[in-house]
């Protein structure tokens, strides 16, 4: 079993916005990765940005970030 950790989950309105997030984070050395949106957040499919919950603030306030559909914290 994968060990569960507190994570922040950023969701997006489009796949394009998720890709913009990945590009931004890679360029600025920000933490996280793309992954499936947890079903506990929404059953609407889609790509989410997943990062340790402790990094929520830096990611949420990253200049130039795409619009988030939602920001959630989950044990993943």
């Amino acid at each position: 079993m994968r060990e569960r950790k507190p994570m922040v989950v950023f969701t997006f309105h489009t796949t394009a916005a998720a890709m913009a997030m990945e590009k931004l984070c890679k360029a600025r050395g920000l933490p996280g990765r793309l992954g499936p949106t947890p079903r506990s957040v929404t059953s609407d499919c889609g790509i989410a940005w997943l990062a340790p919950a402790s990094d929520r603030e830096v990611l949420e306030n990253a200049p130039g970030a795409p619009e988030f559909a939602g920001v959630y914290e989950r044990e993943l």
Partner: protein, 377 residues
């Protein structure tokens, strides 16, 4: 074969495009369908291409680059997604059926159309534009350059006219994208419709729209998006708003490489080369007895020379060029009925020579000799 039908498609593609498509065929999954290495590789390629095209065309947001199969699909999306039966729309005699037929369908539903007339040289009188305005005029929909004569329209001027009168400006850049500077913001373009397989030198089956801020197009088609799957309606955010179903990821990978090639080569260098070939050919045939060349060669234009030889059937001339000289051109109506009517060539058609970046001066000279030979017979 000497290929001089680049206005139909650029047959020769840059090597990097061939390589990119080949690699994509072996590596790309489906954009936004699941989150695995394959789907993410496709999503990165597609998003990267949106970024490149947005920058290339002076857009301000990669999410406002929406992919289609070609410019015809893009034009249908723009026209039916922005205009309705209550509207009056201005277009021109230069248009291809990709503009005309959607407009005629709108007219059948109640919309009113006015066309900026072209003269026998295929030129329009911009001073006539204000006289076409009506209280319910909503948009100007036009090509950047005629696919028949190569005559270019002054889109900066038309964009300024649209800005002054609060009109949408939908531009068909099929004949100019890749070899003319086009800037959505500076030219006040509301929706730029492009195809990937002509001057952009990408694969067939690629194209799209670049949409200005504030322009909200009703979705033309609805379906699978990979996101917001439990919504009844198509998601509202661009680009998903206009993209239902699987994208041509392999083609878009090739288009991405093509844009890289264009930027590295420089569209001003491409334009200069193609224009030089067009003028070389034009100077070689313009004075040949019996040859009639159509269009305005006194100003900036697309690299097209269209002609007839006496009263010969244009199809016969193109067949002789192909069979006896190995030269590929396009004859007939060119999907441009109003332009042919203005030129007086509806019955005879015309023979179109269109030059591309990979053509050479020697090929243009061979084509001149072929026309001289046919005209002398």
């Amino acid at each position: 074969m000497i290929y001089l039908d680049n206005a139909a498609t650029s047959l020769r593609k840059p090597d990097c495009v061939v390589q990119a498509v080949s690699e994509a065929l072996c590596s790309l999954g489906n954009v936004g369908r699941g989150v695995n290495a394959g789907s993410l590789s496709a999503a990165r390629v597609v998003y990267g291409t949106r970024e490149k095209l947005s920058a290339f065309f002076g857009g301000d947001d990669p999410s406002r680059v929406c992919f289609t199969c070609n410019s015809t699909e893009a034009l249908n999306i723009a026209i039916f997604g922005l205009l309705g039966p209550e509207d009056h729309i201005i277009s021109t005699d230069l248009e291809h059926n990709s503009v005309l037929r959607p407009l005629y369908r709108l007219e059948d539903r109640g919309a009113a159309l006015s066309f900026l007339a072209a003269d026998r040289r295929g030129c329009v009188d911009y001073d006539a534009l204000p006289g076409l305005l009506r209280p319910n005029t909503r948009a100007v929909v036009c090509t950047h350059a005629s696919n028949l004569t190569g005559n270019a329209l002054d889109i900066r001027r038309i964009g300024a006219f649209c800005r002054e009168h609060g009109l949408l400006f939908i531009l068909d850049a099929s004949q100019t994208a890749g070899s003319f500077p086009i800037h959505v913001a500076k030219d006040n373009i509301s929706v730029l419709c492009f195809t990937g397989h002509k001057g952009l030198m990408g694969p067939q089956g690629t194209g799209g729209l670049v949409i200005a801020p504030g322009v909200e197009i009703r979705p033309f088609k609805t379906g699978g998006t990979g996101v917001q799957s439990h919504l009844r309606a198509q998601p509202e955010a661009y680009p998903t708003r206009l993209e239902a179903g699987t994208l041509n990821g392999h083609g878009i990978a090739g288009l991405s490489a093509a844009v890289d090639f264009l930027r590295e080569t420089g569209i001003e260098n491409i334009h200069r080369h193609e224009t030089a070939l067009m003028r070389r050919f034009y100077e070689g045939v313009r004075a040949v007895p019996g040859v009639t060349v159509y269009g305005d060669f006194d100003r900036e234009r697309a690299p097209i020379v269209t002609l007839n030889v006496g009263d010969m059937d244009s199809g016969e001339v193109s067949d002789i060029l192909m069979e006896d000289f190995g030269i590929a051109v396009r004859s007939g109506a060119h999907c441009a009925p109003r332009m042919h009517a203005a030129l007086g060539t509806t019955v005879q058609g015309a023979v179109r020579f269109s030059f591309g970046y990979f053509n050479t001066a020697a090929e243009a000279d061979t084509a001149v000799r072929a026309i001289r030979s046919i005209a002398e017979e």
